[in-house]
Protein backbone atom coordinates (compact mmCIF):
# COMPACT_ATOMS: atom_id res chain seq x y z
CA UNK A 1 0.00 0.00 0.00
CA UNK A 2 2.87 2.32 0.80
CA UNK A 3 4.34 4.17 -2.08
CA UNK A 4 7.83 5.63 -2.08
CA UNK A 5 7.65 9.17 -3.27
CA UNK A 6 10.83 10.89 -4.38
CA UNK A 7 11.32 14.48 -3.18
CA UNK A 8 14.01 16.82 -4.43
CA UNK A 9 14.99 20.20 -3.02
CA UNK A 10 15.22 22.86 -5.70
CA UNK A 11 16.19 26.47 -5.60
CA UNK A 12 14.09 28.74 -7.77
CA UNK A 13 16.71 28.93 -10.47
CA UNK A 14 16.56 28.63 -14.20
CA UNK A 15 17.15 25.14 -15.58
CA UNK A 16 17.12 23.16 -12.32
CA UNK A 17 13.92 21.30 -13.06
CA UNK A 18 15.20 20.38 -16.48
CA UNK A 19 18.40 19.01 -14.95
CA UNK A 20 16.52 16.72 -12.59
CA UNK A 21 14.40 15.31 -15.38
CA UNK A 22 17.47 14.92 -17.55
CA UNK A 23 19.37 12.99 -14.90
CA UNK A 24 16.40 10.67 -14.42
CA UNK A 25 15.92 10.28 -18.14
CA UNK A 26 19.54 9.32 -18.68
CA UNK A 27 19.23 6.73 -15.90
CA UNK A 28 16.15 5.33 -17.64
CA UNK A 29 13.91 6.20 -14.69
CA UNK A 30 10.35 6.97 -15.73
CA UNK A 31 8.09 9.43 -13.93
CA UNK A 32 4.45 8.56 -13.48
CA UNK A 33 3.34 11.48 -11.31
CA UNK A 34 4.92 14.79 -10.63
CA UNK A 35 4.18 17.94 -8.65
CA UNK A 36 6.06 21.02 -7.52
CA UNK A 37 5.47 22.82 -4.24
CA UNK A 38 7.03 26.22 -4.32
CA UNK A 39 7.75 29.28 -2.20
CA UNK A 40 9.29 32.51 -3.39
CA UNK A 41 12.78 31.16 -2.88
CA UNK A 42 12.78 27.42 -3.15
CA UNK A 43 10.64 24.52 -4.22
CA UNK A 44 10.17 20.86 -3.49
CA UNK A 45 9.73 18.56 -6.41
CA UNK A 46 7.68 15.48 -5.58
CA UNK A 47 7.33 12.53 -7.93
CA UNK A 48 6.42 8.92 -8.28
CA UNK A 49 9.03 7.15 -10.36
CA UNK A 50 9.54 3.70 -11.79
CA UNK A 51 12.63 2.98 -9.64
CA UNK A 52 12.82 5.18 -6.50
CA UNK A 53 16.11 3.72 -5.20
CA UNK A 54 17.87 4.20 -8.47
CA UNK A 55 16.49 7.73 -8.79
CA UNK A 56 17.89 8.60 -5.36
CA UNK A 57 21.26 7.15 -6.28
CA UNK A 58 21.66 9.06 -9.54
CA UNK A 59 20.38 12.36 -8.13
CA UNK A 60 22.61 12.11 -5.07
CA UNK A 61 25.57 11.56 -7.33
CA UNK A 62 24.70 14.92 -8.89
CA UNK A 63 24.57 16.59 -5.43
CA UNK A 64 20.83 17.02 -5.20
CA UNK A 65 19.19 16.84 -1.78
CA UNK A 66 16.73 13.99 -2.13
CA UNK A 67 14.47 12.03 0.11
CA UNK A 68 12.06 9.13 -0.09
CA UNK A 69 8.76 9.68 1.70
CA UNK A 70 5.98 7.15 2.21
CA UNK A 71 2.68 8.20 0.70
CA UNK A 72 -0.52 6.43 -0.32
CA UNK A 73 -2.33 6.55 -3.61
CA UNK A 74 -6.08 6.41 -3.85
CA UNK A 75 -7.83 5.30 -7.01
CA UNK A 76 -11.19 7.05 -7.45
CA UNK A 77 -13.66 7.14 -10.31
CA UNK A 78 -13.00 10.02 -12.72
CA UNK A 79 -16.34 11.71 -12.12
CA UNK A 80 -17.67 14.79 -10.32
CA UNK A 81 -17.81 14.51 -6.54
CA UNK A 82 -15.64 11.43 -6.09
CA UNK A 83 -12.67 13.26 -4.59
CA UNK A 84 -15.02 15.23 -2.33
CA UNK A 85 -16.42 11.94 -1.05
CA UNK A 86 -12.97 10.57 -0.24
CA UNK A 87 -11.89 13.76 1.48
CA UNK A 88 -15.08 13.84 3.51
CA UNK A 89 -14.41 10.34 4.81
CA UNK A 90 -10.84 11.28 5.76
CA UNK A 91 -11.99 14.55 7.32
CA UNK A 92 -14.69 12.87 9.39
CA UNK A 93 -12.16 10.49 10.83
CA UNK A 94 -9.67 13.25 11.59
CA UNK A 95 -7.03 12.33 9.03
CA UNK A 96 -4.97 15.44 8.34
CA UNK A 97 -3.53 15.76 4.83
CA UNK A 98 -0.15 17.48 4.55
CA UNK A 99 -0.32 17.72 0.78
CA UNK A 100 -1.73 15.88 -2.20
CA UNK A 101 -1.73 15.82 -5.97
CA UNK A 102 -3.76 13.94 -8.52
CA UNK A 103 -3.84 12.87 -12.13
CA UNK A 104 -6.67 11.29 -14.07
CA UNK A 105 -6.50 8.64 -16.77
CA UNK A 106 -9.69 7.80 -18.60
CA UNK A 107 -12.20 6.12 -16.30
CA UNK A 108 -10.31 6.64 -13.04
CA UNK A 109 -8.08 9.11 -11.26
CA UNK A 110 -5.07 8.57 -8.97
CA UNK A 111 -4.74 10.77 -5.90
CA UNK A 112 -1.40 10.80 -4.11
CA UNK A 113 -1.88 11.62 -0.44
CA UNK A 114 0.65 12.51 2.26
CA UNK A 115 -1.33 12.22 5.48
CA UNK A 116 0.05 13.17 8.84
CA UNK A 117 -0.75 9.69 10.13
CA UNK A 118 -0.14 7.18 7.39
CA UNK A 119 -1.45 4.07 9.12
CA UNK A 120 -4.65 5.74 10.17
CA UNK A 121 -5.22 7.06 6.67
CA UNK A 122 -4.84 3.61 5.14
CA UNK A 123 -7.15 2.05 7.68
CA UNK A 124 -9.86 4.67 7.20
CA UNK A 125 -9.76 4.34 3.44
CA UNK A 126 -9.83 0.55 3.58
CA UNK A 127 -12.67 0.56 6.11
CA UNK A 128 -14.68 2.57 3.62
CA UNK A 129 -13.80 0.22 0.77
CA UNK A 130 -11.80 2.84 -1.07
CA UNK A 131 -9.38 1.46 -3.60
CA UNK A 132 -5.69 1.96 -2.89
CA UNK A 133 -3.15 1.61 -5.68
CA UNK A 134 -0.31 -0.86 -5.19
CA UNK A 135 3.19 0.55 -5.38
CA UNK A 136 4.22 -1.89 -8.08
CA UNK A 137 1.27 -0.84 -10.22
CA UNK A 138 1.89 2.85 -9.78
CA UNK A 139 5.62 2.64 -10.56
CA UNK A 140 4.75 0.98 -13.86
CA UNK A 141 2.42 3.71 -15.08
Amino acid sequence: MLIKQLSVFLENKKGRLMEVTQVLGEANVNMSAFSVADTSEFGILRMIVSDPEKAVEVLKAKDFSVKLTDVVCLNAPNQPGSLAKALQILGNDGVFIEYMYAFSMGESANVVLKPKNLDKCIKVLQDHKMELVKASDLYKL
Binding site: F9, E11, T39, E41, I44, F64, S65, V66, K67
Partner: protein
Protein backbone atom coordinates in the same frame (compact mmCIF):
# COMPACT_ATOMS: atom_id res chain seq x y z
CA UNK B 1 38.44 75.44 19.17
CA UNK B 2 41.32 73.33 20.47
CA UNK B 3 40.28 71.88 23.82
CA UNK B 4 43.68 70.92 25.16
CA UNK B 5 46.19 72.96 23.24
CA UNK B 6 49.11 71.82 25.34
CA UNK B 7 48.73 68.18 24.33
CA UNK B 8 46.99 68.52 20.98
CA UNK B 9 49.62 70.89 19.62
CA UNK B 10 52.60 69.48 21.53
CA UNK B 11 56.00 69.21 19.89
CA UNK B 12 57.09 65.67 19.03
CA UNK B 13 59.70 65.88 21.81
CA UNK B 14 57.14 66.73 24.47
CA UNK B 15 54.70 64.09 23.18
CA UNK B 16 57.41 61.38 23.20
CA UNK B 17 58.38 62.39 26.71
CA UNK B 18 54.80 62.15 27.98
CA UNK B 19 54.24 58.87 26.14
CA UNK B 20 57.46 57.34 27.48
CA UNK B 21 56.72 58.24 31.05
CA UNK B 22 53.17 56.94 30.88
CA UNK B 23 54.19 53.78 29.02
CA UNK B 24 56.80 52.86 31.63
CA UNK B 25 54.18 53.38 34.31
CA UNK B 26 51.52 51.34 32.47
CA UNK B 27 53.89 48.40 31.89
CA UNK B 28 54.86 48.41 35.55
CA UNK B 29 51.25 48.42 36.73
CA UNK B 30 50.20 45.74 34.27
CA UNK B 31 53.14 43.53 35.17
CA UNK B 32 52.39 43.65 38.86
CA UNK B 33 48.59 43.48 38.67
CA UNK B 34 47.69 41.36 35.63
CA UNK B 35 49.01 37.78 35.95
CA UNK B 36 48.24 37.07 32.28
CA UNK B 37 50.44 39.97 31.16
CA UNK B 38 53.20 39.12 33.63
CA UNK B 39 53.34 35.56 32.33
CA UNK B 40 53.58 36.80 28.76
CA UNK B 41 56.45 39.14 29.68
CA UNK B 42 58.22 36.38 31.56
CA UNK B 43 57.94 34.05 28.61
CA UNK B 44 59.73 36.71 26.57
CA UNK B 45 62.32 37.12 29.36
CA UNK B 46 61.23 40.72 29.89
CA UNK B 47 61.01 42.66 33.13
CA UNK B 48 59.32 46.07 33.47
CA UNK B 49 62.78 47.71 33.77
CA UNK B 50 63.50 46.69 30.16
CA UNK B 51 60.92 49.21 29.01
CA UNK B 52 62.54 52.61 29.40
CA UNK B 53 60.47 54.57 26.90
CA UNK B 54 58.52 54.41 23.65
CA UNK B 55 61.66 53.24 21.83
CA UNK B 56 61.14 49.92 23.68
CA UNK B 57 57.45 49.59 22.80
CA UNK B 58 58.15 47.04 20.05
CA UNK B 59 59.67 44.64 22.60
CA UNK B 60 56.32 44.16 24.34
CA UNK B 61 53.93 41.29 23.60
CA UNK B 62 50.75 41.88 21.61
CA UNK B 63 47.26 41.61 23.02
CA UNK B 64 44.45 40.24 20.84
CA UNK B 65 40.69 39.99 21.23
CA UNK B 66 40.97 36.29 22.07
CA UNK B 67 43.04 37.21 25.16
CA UNK B 68 40.02 39.14 26.43
CA UNK B 69 37.76 36.16 25.86
CA UNK B 70 40.24 33.79 27.53
CA UNK B 71 40.31 36.05 30.57
CA UNK B 72 36.56 36.68 30.64
CA UNK B 73 35.20 38.58 32.42
CA UNK B 74 37.69 40.41 34.66
CA UNK B 75 41.01 38.62 34.13
CA UNK B 76 42.74 41.57 32.44
CA UNK B 77 41.63 44.17 35.00
CA UNK B 78 44.59 45.86 36.70
CA UNK B 79 42.69 47.21 39.69
CA UNK B 80 40.42 45.59 42.28
CA UNK B 81 36.67 45.75 41.56
CA UNK B 82 36.30 48.33 44.31
CA UNK B 83 38.08 50.78 42.01
CA UNK B 84 35.89 50.01 38.99
CA UNK B 85 32.90 52.31 38.60
CA UNK B 86 31.59 51.34 35.16
CA UNK B 87 31.47 48.26 32.94
CA UNK B 88 30.87 48.15 29.20
CA UNK B 89 30.87 45.19 26.85
CA UNK B 90 30.93 44.52 23.16
CA UNK B 91 29.22 41.67 21.37
CA UNK B 92 31.46 38.65 21.26
CA UNK B 93 31.89 35.41 19.41
CA UNK B 94 30.07 32.36 20.75
CA UNK B 95 27.86 34.48 22.93
CA UNK B 96 30.56 35.73 25.29
CA UNK B 97 31.05 39.49 25.17
CA UNK B 98 34.34 41.24 25.82
CA UNK B 99 34.17 43.22 29.04
CA UNK B 100 35.92 46.47 29.84
CA UNK B 101 36.02 48.27 33.20
CA UNK B 102 36.63 51.94 33.97
CA UNK B 103 37.89 53.57 37.14
CA UNK B 104 36.70 57.05 38.05
CA UNK B 105 39.88 58.44 36.51
CA UNK B 106 39.31 56.41 33.33
CA UNK B 107 35.86 57.96 32.94
CA UNK B 108 37.42 61.39 33.34
CA UNK B 109 40.09 60.61 30.70
CA UNK B 110 37.41 59.23 28.42
CA UNK B 111 35.30 62.38 28.77
CA UNK B 112 38.47 64.42 28.11
CA UNK B 113 39.31 62.65 24.84
CA UNK B 114 35.72 62.73 23.62
CA UNK B 115 35.52 66.44 24.46
CA UNK B 116 38.67 67.01 22.40
CA UNK B 117 37.17 65.15 19.45
CA UNK B 118 33.91 67.11 19.63
CA UNK B 119 35.85 70.37 19.74
CA UNK B 120 37.92 69.14 16.77
CA UNK B 121 34.71 68.56 14.87
CA UNK B 122 33.68 72.15 15.52
CA UNK B 123 31.18 71.58 18.34
CA UNK B 124 30.99 74.34 20.99
CA UNK B 125 29.13 75.12 24.20
CA UNK B 126 26.10 76.59 22.46
CA UNK B 127 25.44 73.40 20.51
CA UNK B 128 22.62 70.96 21.14
CA UNK B 129 23.93 67.45 20.59
CA UNK B 130 21.49 64.68 19.72
CA UNK B 131 23.16 61.41 20.70
CA UNK B 132 21.55 58.71 18.59
CA UNK B 133 24.20 56.10 19.33
CA UNK B 134 22.87 53.29 21.49
CA UNK B 135 23.09 53.82 25.23
CA UNK B 136 23.87 50.78 27.34
CA UNK B 137 26.63 48.20 27.17
CA UNK B 138 27.78 49.68 23.85
CA UNK B 139 30.27 52.48 24.51
CA UNK B 140 28.92 54.78 21.76
CA UNK B 141 26.04 56.49 23.56
CA UNK B 142 27.48 57.08 27.01
CA UNK B 143 30.92 57.89 25.60
CA UNK B 144 29.68 60.79 23.48
CA UNK B 145 27.24 61.77 26.22
CA UNK B 146 29.83 62.53 28.90
CA UNK B 147 32.18 64.19 26.42
CA UNK B 148 29.38 66.52 25.37
CA UNK B 149 28.54 67.42 28.96
CA UNK B 150 32.21 67.97 29.69
CA UNK B 151 32.42 70.34 26.74
CA UNK B 152 29.44 72.24 28.10
CA UNK B 153 27.10 71.66 25.17
CA UNK B 154 23.55 70.33 25.71
CA UNK B 155 22.91 66.61 25.31
CA UNK B 156 19.74 65.01 24.02
CA UNK B 157 20.26 61.42 25.22
CA UNK B 158 17.73 59.89 22.84
CA UNK B 159 19.79 56.73 22.09
CA UNK B 160 19.31 54.74 18.85
CA UNK B 161 16.14 53.92 16.94
CA UNK B 162 12.69 55.51 17.17
CA UNK B 163 13.34 57.38 13.93
CA UNK B 164 10.19 59.54 13.74
CA UNK B 165 10.77 60.76 17.28
CA UNK B 166 14.41 61.49 16.45
CA UNK B 167 13.25 63.75 13.64
CA UNK B 168 10.54 65.40 15.71
CA UNK B 169 12.98 66.27 18.48
CA UNK B 170 15.61 67.32 15.96
CA UNK B 171 13.14 69.87 14.65
CA UNK B 172 11.42 70.92 17.89
CA UNK B 173 14.56 71.03 20.07
CA UNK B 174 16.68 72.60 17.34
CA UNK B 175 19.49 70.01 17.53
CA UNK B 176 22.64 71.34 15.90
CA UNK B 177 24.83 68.23 16.16
CA UNK B 178 23.88 64.66 15.34
CA UNK B 179 25.95 61.74 16.65
CA UNK B 180 25.13 58.30 15.21
CA UNK B 181 26.37 55.68 12.74
CA UNK B 182 26.70 56.96 9.16
CA UNK B 183 24.19 54.41 7.87
CA UNK B 184 21.65 55.59 10.42
CA UNK B 185 22.31 59.19 9.35
CA UNK B 186 21.43 58.25 5.79
CA UNK B 187 18.33 56.47 6.97
CA UNK B 188 17.30 59.56 8.93
CA UNK B 189 17.81 61.63 5.78
CA UNK B 190 15.50 59.29 3.90
CA UNK B 191 12.75 59.43 6.49
CA UNK B 192 13.10 63.22 6.76
CA UNK B 193 12.49 63.41 3.02
CA UNK B 194 9.54 61.02 3.22
CA UNK B 195 8.00 63.13 5.99
CA UNK B 196 8.21 66.13 3.68
CA UNK B 197 10.56 68.06 5.95
CA UNK B 198 13.08 70.23 4.16
CA UNK B 199 16.65 70.37 5.52
CA UNK B 200 16.20 74.11 6.08
CA UNK B 201 13.72 73.40 8.85
CA UNK B 202 16.50 71.60 10.73
CA UNK B 203 19.46 73.24 12.39
CA UNK B 204 21.83 70.28 12.28
CA UNK B 205 25.23 71.55 11.17
CA UNK B 206 27.66 68.84 12.29
CA UNK B 207 27.45 65.08 12.20
CA UNK B 208 29.72 62.93 14.39
CA UNK B 209 29.65 59.60 12.63
CA UNK B 210 31.46 56.37 13.43
CA UNK B 211 31.28 52.77 14.69
CA UNK B 212 31.23 51.38 11.13
CA UNK B 213 33.21 51.82 7.92
CA UNK B 214 31.96 54.40 5.45
CA UNK B 215 33.24 55.87 2.24
CA UNK B 216 34.00 59.33 0.95
CA UNK B 217 30.97 59.01 -1.35
CA UNK B 218 28.75 58.23 1.58
CA UNK B 219 30.13 61.28 3.33
CA UNK B 220 29.27 63.49 0.38
CA UNK B 221 25.78 62.05 0.18
CA UNK B 222 25.08 62.55 3.90
CA UNK B 223 26.44 66.09 3.75
CA UNK B 224 24.27 66.92 0.77
CA UNK B 225 21.07 65.38 2.04
CA UNK B 226 21.27 66.58 5.63
CA UNK B 227 23.06 69.85 4.96
CA UNK B 228 25.79 69.27 7.53
CA UNK B 229 29.50 68.64 7.85
CA UNK B 230 30.10 64.91 8.36
CA UNK B 231 32.98 64.17 10.73
CA UNK B 232 34.50 60.70 11.12
CA UNK B 233 35.09 59.54 14.70
CA UNK B 234 36.91 56.32 15.57
CA UNK B 235 37.12 54.20 18.66
CA UNK B 236 36.83 50.73 20.04
CA UNK B 237 35.71 49.59 23.44
CA UNK B 238 38.92 47.63 24.08
CA UNK B 239 40.87 50.89 23.95
CA UNK B 240 38.25 53.17 25.54
CA UNK B 241 35.26 53.57 23.20
CA UNK B 242 34.62 56.56 20.94
CA UNK B 243 37.25 59.27 21.21
CA UNK B 244 40.36 57.33 20.29
CA UNK B 245 40.64 59.50 17.19
CA UNK B 246 38.55 61.93 15.19
CA UNK B 247 38.70 64.23 12.21
CA UNK B 248 39.11 67.93 12.68
CA UNK B 249 37.32 70.42 10.46
CA UNK B 250 40.00 69.90 7.76
CA UNK B 251 38.58 66.36 7.30
CA UNK B 252 42.01 65.12 6.33
CA UNK B 253 42.73 62.16 8.60
CA UNK B 254 41.72 61.39 12.16
CA UNK B 255 43.80 62.91 14.97
CA UNK B 256 44.71 60.24 17.51
CA UNK B 257 44.72 61.28 21.16
CA UNK B 258 48.20 59.85 21.36
CA UNK B 259 48.99 61.09 24.84
CA UNK B 260 46.42 58.44 25.89
CA UNK B 261 46.74 55.84 23.13
CA UNK B 262 50.05 55.22 21.37
CA UNK B 263 49.46 54.02 17.81
CA UNK B 264 51.75 51.70 15.86
CA UNK B 265 51.43 50.22 12.39
CA UNK B 266 52.57 46.63 12.01
CA UNK B 267 52.76 44.13 9.21
CA UNK B 268 49.80 41.82 9.96
CA UNK B 269 51.76 38.80 8.69
CA UNK B 270 55.21 39.26 10.23
CA UNK B 271 54.04 41.45 13.14
CA UNK B 272 57.05 43.74 12.53
CA UNK B 273 56.49 47.46 13.14
CA UNK B 274 56.38 49.40 9.88
CA UNK B 275 57.96 52.80 9.25
CA UNK B 276 55.82 55.94 9.27
CA UNK B 277 53.53 56.30 6.29
CA UNK B 278 53.26 52.57 5.51
CA UNK B 279 49.93 50.80 5.32
CA UNK B 280 49.41 48.10 7.88
CA UNK B 281 47.50 46.98 10.92
CA UNK B 282 46.79 49.56 13.58
CA UNK B 283 47.96 48.65 17.09
CA UNK B 284 47.22 50.67 20.22
CA UNK B 285 48.79 50.81 23.65
CA UNK B 286 46.75 52.64 26.26
CA UNK B 287 48.96 54.70 28.57
CA UNK B 288 46.51 56.44 30.87
CA UNK B 289 43.96 53.72 31.51
CA UNK B 290 43.84 52.15 34.98
CA UNK B 291 40.94 49.68 34.80
CA UNK B 292 42.03 47.57 31.87
CA UNK B 293 45.29 48.72 30.30
CA UNK B 294 45.85 47.35 26.82
CA UNK B 295 49.40 46.69 25.71
CA UNK B 296 49.87 46.61 21.94
CA UNK B 297 46.27 45.71 21.20
CA UNK B 298 45.86 44.56 17.61
CA UNK B 299 42.80 46.33 16.22
CA UNK B 300 42.86 44.43 12.89
CA UNK B 301 41.98 47.71 11.21
CA UNK B 302 44.20 48.60 8.26
CA UNK B 303 45.39 52.18 7.85
CA UNK B 304 48.49 54.38 7.86
CA UNK B 305 49.76 57.26 9.99
CA UNK B 306 50.69 60.82 9.09
CA UNK B 307 52.93 62.68 11.57
CA UNK B 308 52.86 66.03 9.75
CA UNK B 309 51.39 69.02 11.50
CA UNK B 310 47.79 69.60 10.42
CA UNK B 311 46.41 72.84 8.99
CA UNK B 312 44.19 73.08 12.06
CA UNK B 313 47.32 73.59 14.16
CA UNK B 314 47.23 70.20 15.87
CA UNK B 315 50.32 68.03 15.91
CA UNK B 316 48.46 64.90 17.06
CA UNK B 317 49.30 62.13 14.60
CA UNK B 318 46.58 61.45 12.04
CA UNK B 319 45.36 58.04 10.88
CA UNK B 320 43.70 57.64 7.52
CA UNK B 321 40.10 56.49 7.34
CA UNK B 322 40.36 52.71 7.82
CA UNK B 323 40.40 50.89 4.51
CA UNK B 324 39.78 47.36 5.63
CA UNK B 325 40.58 44.73 8.18
CA UNK B 326 43.23 42.07 8.56
CA UNK B 327 40.67 39.55 9.84
CA UNK B 328 37.21 38.56 8.68
CA UNK B 329 35.21 40.79 11.02
CA UNK B 330 32.32 42.61 9.39
CA UNK B 331 30.64 45.67 10.76
CA UNK B 332 26.98 45.56 9.88
CA UNK B 333 24.76 48.40 11.02
CA UNK B 334 27.30 49.15 13.74
CA UNK B 335 27.35 45.55 15.01
CA UNK B 336 30.59 43.55 14.89
CA UNK B 337 29.98 40.24 13.18
CA UNK B 338 32.49 37.43 12.78
CA UNK B 339 31.60 34.62 10.37
CA UNK B 340 32.62 32.23 13.17
CA UNK B 341 29.67 33.50 15.22
CA UNK B 342 27.30 32.51 12.45
CA UNK B 343 29.02 29.15 12.28
CA UNK B 344 28.56 28.57 15.99
CA UNK B 345 24.85 29.33 15.70
CA UNK B 346 24.54 26.79 12.90
CA UNK B 347 26.56 24.30 14.94
CA UNK B 348 24.11 24.56 17.81
CA UNK B 349 21.46 23.26 15.47
CA UNK B 350 23.30 20.12 14.38
CA UNK B 351 26.59 18.36 14.94
CA UNK B 352 28.33 19.68 11.90
CA UNK B 353 27.56 23.04 10.39
CA UNK B 354 26.20 23.06 6.89
CA UNK B 355 28.01 25.02 4.23
CA UNK B 356 27.02 28.64 4.38
CA UNK B 357 27.87 31.98 2.89
CA UNK B 358 27.19 35.48 4.13
CA UNK B 359 26.35 38.13 1.63
CA UNK B 360 26.47 41.71 2.82
CA UNK B 361 24.86 44.34 0.68
CA UNK B 362 23.97 47.94 1.10
CA UNK B 363 20.41 48.44 -0.09
CA UNK B 364 19.84 52.14 -0.31
CA UNK B 365 21.27 53.27 2.98
CA UNK B 366 21.02 50.20 5.16
CA UNK B 367 23.25 47.19 5.25
CA UNK B 368 21.50 43.91 4.73
CA UNK B 369 22.80 40.49 5.54
CA UNK B 370 21.79 37.38 3.66
CA UNK B 371 22.84 33.98 4.91
CA UNK B 372 22.81 31.24 2.32
CA UNK B 373 22.64 27.78 3.82
CA UNK B 374 23.01 24.61 1.81
CA UNK B 375 20.13 22.23 2.38
CA UNK B 376 22.02 19.02 2.82
CA UNK B 377 20.06 15.82 3.01
CA UNK B 378 19.96 15.78 6.80
CA UNK B 379 18.16 19.14 6.78
CA UNK B 380 15.86 18.35 3.91
CA UNK B 381 12.25 17.70 4.66
CA UNK B 382 9.74 17.26 1.89
CA UNK B 383 7.37 19.62 3.65
CA UNK B 384 7.47 23.33 2.91
CA UNK B 385 6.39 24.07 6.46
CA UNK B 386 9.43 22.32 7.93
CA UNK B 387 11.86 24.08 5.64
CA UNK B 388 10.30 27.46 6.36
CA UNK B 389 10.56 26.57 10.04
CA UNK B 390 14.27 25.82 9.58
CA UNK B 391 14.78 29.23 7.98
CA UNK B 392 12.96 30.98 10.79
CA UNK B 393 14.86 29.08 13.46
CA UNK B 394 18.25 30.01 11.98
CA UNK B 395 17.25 33.67 11.62
CA UNK B 396 15.88 33.73 15.15
CA UNK B 397 18.98 32.15 16.69
CA UNK B 398 21.24 34.59 14.88
CA UNK B 399 19.08 37.51 15.95
CA UNK B 400 19.20 36.45 19.58
CA UNK B 401 22.95 35.67 19.61
CA UNK B 402 24.27 38.53 17.51
CA UNK B 403 21.46 41.03 17.78
CA UNK B 404 21.25 41.42 14.04
CA UNK B 405 18.52 40.48 11.61
CA UNK B 406 19.43 38.23 8.75
CA UNK B 407 17.60 36.97 5.71
CA UNK B 408 18.13 33.21 5.50
CA UNK B 409 18.10 31.69 2.06
CA UNK B 410 18.09 27.93 1.59
CA UNK B 411 20.16 26.80 -1.36
CA UNK B 412 20.95 23.48 -3.01
CA UNK B 413 23.95 21.43 -1.86
CA UNK B 414 27.33 22.21 -3.45
CA UNK B 415 26.07 25.44 -4.96
CA UNK B 416 28.12 27.73 -2.72
CA UNK B 417 31.34 28.41 -4.51
CA UNK B 418 34.38 26.67 -3.06
CA UNK B 419 37.95 27.61 -3.63
CA UNK B 420 40.41 24.77 -3.09
CA UNK B 421 37.64 22.82 -1.40
CA UNK B 422 36.96 25.55 1.14
CA UNK B 423 33.83 27.62 0.93
CA UNK B 424 34.21 31.36 0.77
CA UNK B 425 32.35 32.46 3.87
CA UNK B 426 31.76 36.10 3.18
CA UNK B 427 30.92 38.15 0.14
CA UNK B 428 30.86 41.84 0.93
CA UNK B 429 29.16 43.63 -1.92
CA UNK B 430 29.04 47.00 -0.14
CA UNK B 431 30.98 49.63 -1.95
CA UNK B 432 32.50 51.41 0.99
Amino acid sequence: MIWNEKMECASRELMSEVQSERLVNTVKRSYHNVPFFRKKMQEMHLVPEDIKGIEDLHKLPFTVKQDMRDNYPYGLFAVPMSEIVRLHASSGTTGKPTVVGYTRKDLASWAEVVTRTLAMAGVHKEDIVQVAYGYGLFTGGLGIHYGTENLGASVIPISGGNTKKQIQLMRDFGSTVLACTPSYALYLAEVIEEMGISPEELKIRIGIFGAEPWSQNMRLEIEKRLGLKAIDIFGLSEIIGPGVSCECECQNGLHINEDHFIPEIIDPETHEPLPGGSYGELVFTTISKEGIPMIRYRTRDLTRLNYEKCECGRTLVRMEKCTGRSDDMLIIRGVNVFPSQIESVLLEMSETAPHYQLIVEREGTMDSLTLQVEVEERFFSDEIRELQGLRKKIAHNIQSTLGISVNVKLVEPKTIERTAGKAKRVIDKRKI
